[in-house]
């Protein structure tokens, strides 16, 4: 089964410092990987995706992620964190069963950026 794991329940970062939110994947075949962010009382917002091509993917709000096949990782990064980045972050992988278009999500990582 296609799955992702987020090993950290919470990540704390000081504003202005770089941040990393970790994600590892377990898939058969080529992975379609995604990062979403969820702000309180809001739906999920798309940040970025890796389908193929460059291993470094740039997304919304200054976020980027690096696809590492040898380490089966897809960590989310940002060079300089903002307090407004505080939210719940989900890594997801496309599920190849059935229609092949649903997503399997990690458990989520809560990011807290302190002033």
């Amino acid at each position: 089964a296609q799955s992702v794991a987020q090993p950290e329940d919470q990540v704390n970062v000081a504003e202005g410092n770089p941040l990393t939110v970790k994600c590892t994947y377990s898939v058969s075949g080529n992975p379609y990987l995604f990062w979403y962010v969820q702000y309180p009382n809001r739906g999920l917002q798309f940040l970025l995706k890796y389908i193929t091509g460059d291993n470094l993917v740039k997304g919304s709000y200054g976020f980027e992620a690096e696809f590492n096949k040898s380490q089966t990782s897809f960590h989310l990064k940002k060079p300089s964190a903002l307090v407004s980045d505080s939210a719940l972050y989900f890594c997801a992988v496309r599920d190849i069963r059935n229609s092949g278009y649903a997503l399997n999500f990690g458990k989520g990582t809560s990011l807290l950026v302190t002033p």
Partner: protein
């Protein structure tokens, strides 16, 4: 990108009653998905709703509990039937565009069953 309007945004319901959640997409889409996010948990796929056919349910979810309608290519409903406090969750609808390389989500319905 698809814009999804979902309603209600939240509701508090009595146990034993049912709630129907509506999801409207601003464009025609083939597939729509319903997810559940239990408190402090990740998203779990409930079912895939295709227009003109019965929904496909994931393991642990049944049609009698979560009946789904998909009357056209822009609309779907999910009903949570005979609710219990364990059904208290956020329910989200979703769709994909193109080759499924990006998924879009509604704002979610925060359901509390008392």
């Amino acid at each position: 990108s698809a814009v999804i309007s979902q309603k209600p945004s939240r509701d508090i319901c009595q146990r034993g009653t049912s709630l129907t959640i509506q999801c409207q997409v601003d464009s025609q889409v083939t597939m729509m998905f319903w997810y559940r996010q239990q408190p402090g948990q990740s998203l779990t796929l409930i079912a895939t709703a295709n227009q003109g056919s019965e929904a496909t349910y994931e393991s642990g979810f049944v049609i009698d509990k979560f009946p789904i309608s998909r009357p056209n290519l822009t609309f779907s409903t999910l009903t949570v039937s005979n609710m219990s406090p364990e059904d208290s969750s956020i329910y989200l609808c979703s769709t994909v565009e193109g080759l499924g390389t990006e998924a879009f989500f509604g704002q979610g319905t925060r359901l509390t069953v008392v």
